[in-house]
């Protein structure tokens, strides 16, 4: 069993007829993901990449979805998430960027009370190599193995996973947490899962400036994580007060600097790579 998703996970795509929904549902099928349905209001009865399209999530219930990928525009994300919650889908991944954080807060705490896992918004999703991919990570970079990766960024994750794969280090689960100031999963949430996951032996965390997620993770690792953890932190050179692409990647009033995070990890005995490509040599 992997973390969160596996070979049997049945996935639907909300907003499957949009640009992102169409493209990535096709890529997920190629990866081997069981994409059982898509939704798009008013387009019920059609097909996308051979996947049946329904008007509402309720109409997909007979297909027993375990997870949904929400790929609708930002103003409609909250409604789509509530629709998924109402249909009791246990895992919600939000691909969409630029979701107002007040909406995300509401979604997150409604997910919490219903025991639903929220991934994202504004992240690349989750992949259990080579069994299931929900999200937008490139298919070709993965190799099955025992390293779990969690990251706050997208492309940088691919860079690091690619480097791991090229150096012979396969992955158990790769999770992109998302680049927003409020996202569903924290590093601590995923560390818990990785620590309990039999398929995982080592852990890579990819953090960035902004917030105190990494500092908290470092504290948690000290007392709760027995597996080897290495990290990479990006944003050392970022000027304070500037948002570096991600809404969440900003140093404010001296809070959330790369130095603080690197120091915290070092205190917790977690080696921090200087360059992304150094991760394979640290993890071995």
């Amino acid at each position: 069993m992997s973390v969160l998703v596996d070979k049997e996970t049945r996935v639907i795509v909300q907003g499957i007829t949009g640009h992102q929904g169409k493209f990535h549902s096709g890529e997920m099928l190629k990866f081997g993901t069981k994409v059982v349905a898509g939704t798009s209001p008013g387009k019920g009865g059609t097909e996308v990449n051979g996947i049946p399209v329904f008007n509402t999530v309720r109409e997909t219930r007979h297909l027993n979805p375990d997870a949904t990928m929400i790929a609708v525009a930002a103003p409609f994300v909250k409604d789509a998430a509530f629709e998924a919650l109402d249909a009791e889908i246990p895992l919600i991944y939000i691909l969409t960027e630029h979701v107002p954080f007040h909406d995300t807060m509401e979604i997150l705490y409604h997910c919490r009370r219903k025991g639903v896992t929220l991934i994202g918004p504004n992240g690349p999703g989750v992949t259990a190599a080579m069994d299931c991919k929900i999200g937008i990570m490139p298919n070709h970079i993965f190799k099955k193995g025992d390293i779990a990766v969690a990251s706050r960024s997208g492309t940088l994750t691919y860079e690091i996973v690619g480097a791991l794969t090229r150096n012979g280090f396969g992955q158990s689960t790769v999770i992109g947490l998302g680049g927003d100031p409020v996202v569903g999963l924290t590093f601590i949430d995923v560390l818990k899962m990785f620590e309990n996951d039999e398929a995982t032996n080592k852990i890579v965390l990819v953090g960035e400036i902004g917030g105190t997620n990494e500092e908290r993770a470092a504290e948690y690792i000290k007392s709760h994580v027995s597996k080897k953890v290495v990290a990479y932190i990006t944003g050392r050179s970022a000027p304070p007060g500037k948002r570096m692409g991600h809404a969440g990647a900003i140093v404010e009033k001296g809070m959330g600097t790369a130095e603080s995070k690197i120091k915290a990890f070092n205190h917790a005995g977690v080696e921090v790579a200087e360059y992304p490509v150094d991760i394979p040599s640290l993890i071995k």
Partner: protein
């Protein structure tokens, strides 16, 4: 998005939060007849406005005119004053502090209050500050207000005004999608009235589609950053020599970090985003060229953004802008070989690993 004080006060007022009466002018001709002492406040989005001479008082027409002409058009810490808020002077009996903000660690709203208002909250002894994380699903409820007035030692009518104001401030925070709604100072007047004497409101930019009334140019952004923002790029100007174009915020930051560690300081942050289009690459070059770097590094990990598209964009940009300064390219991932082929045909050699590309561009820019 930071709002000007007068905008924040307009919002407060529309939610029923009392503010001093006043009006906004852009020109001395907009002045209305004086009916009492006023304060003239420069509308600039930076702190320390008072200390920098951005706030003046006037109790007759001559003083008022002098204050207005003395402020309009001047610069405060580099930012030109084009708007003034003319407000009734209030009789301050006591200054408080209240704010509601997003606490990123808890991922919940945080409410703060203190009897030490009128100064930077960071300078106040934490023991003097009431703080409470608010459950976003139950939201603000009156017990929080009761805790706050109890903490501040307020009673009776003043306590009621405070509680009413706090409940409205939470409404502002939630309904206007604020990152921060701060009143500092919150004034208790000699007449026993509670008033928001200042307003600092920061709106989540991602929510602007539902608050189209706001349109504030970030004064901290350079002209080139504003141009990039208008074109939909995440772009930050920096003071190095090497122009950077990469895809993904994380990879772009990692690229800047790697350059810095190699003593090849970056000129900018530019994230191509997740759209696969030649034009986006060409327009990115146009922006970076305006920053006049010594050399340009393109660092791509192909996924949704495909390497061959980027390669075509690079060659198109090179031709269109007649670029002669060094361009170093790293391509990896989807359609990497096709991309490398396109570049090769245009005389550019593309690296497949990031570190050699970093070293090459630092060298090309004349660095270490």
């Amino acid at each position: 998005m930071n709002l000007y004080e007068y905008m924040g006060k307009e919002i407060f007022s529309s939610f029923g939060i009392p503010v001093p009466s006043g009006y906004v002018i852009h020109d001395v001709a907009d002045l209305k007849p004086l009916s009492g002492s006023v304060v003239v406040k420069s509308q600039v989005l930076i702190g320390g406005r008072g200390k920098s001479g951005g706030i003046k008082f006037a109790s007759d027409e001559a003083q008022l005119k002098e204050a207005v002409t003395g402020l309009l058009g001047t610069k405060i810490r580099g930012y030109t004053v084009s708007t003034l808020l003319i407000e009734e002077k209030i009789n301050i009996a006591k200054e408080y502090y209240v704010s509601i903000s997003l606490n990123r660690t808890e991922r919940k709203p945080l409410i703060m209050a203190s009897a030490s208002g009128g100064v930077e909250i960071e300078s106040v002894d934490p023991k003097e500050i009431y703080t409470r994380i608010i459950d976003p699903l139950t939201g603000y409820s009156d017990y929080i207000g009761r805790e706050i007035v109890s903490f501040l030692g307020l009673q009776g009518e003043v306590a009621s005004q405070f509680r009413s104001l706090l409940s409205k401030l939470y409404k502002v925070f939630k309904e206007e999608d604020c990152e921060l709604a701060e009143i500092n100072p919150l004034v208790l007047t000699a007449e026993g009235k509670v008033l928001a004497a200042d307003a600092k409101v920061v709106i989540d930019s991602d929510s602007l589609y539902r608050h189209q009334k706001y349109n504030v140019t970030d004064p901290e952004k350079t002209p080139l950053e504003l141009e990039a923002q208008g074109k939909g790029y995440s772009f930050v100007e920096m003071d190095g020599l090497i122009g950077v174009i990469a895809n993904g915020a994380g990879l772009t930051m990692a690229t800047l970090d790697a350059l810095t560690l190699h003593k090849g300081n970056p000129r900018n942050f530019l994230d191509l985003g997740g759209t696969d289009s030649i034009d986006i690459v060409v327009n990115a070059f146009e922006l970076v060229l305006k920053a006049n770097p010594k050399a340009i590094l393109v660092n791509i990990f192909g996924g949704v953004t495909k390497c061959d598209t980027v390669a075509s964009g690079i060659t198109a940009a090179k031709a269109k802008f007649n670029i002669s300064r060094p361009i170093v390219v790293r391509l990896s991932g989807v359609r990497e070989e096709e991309g490398r082929e396109i570049l090769k045909n245009n005389g550019i050699q593309a690296y497949s690993e990031m570190m050699p590309a970093i070293e090459a561009v630092v060298k090309a820019a004349g660095g270490a």
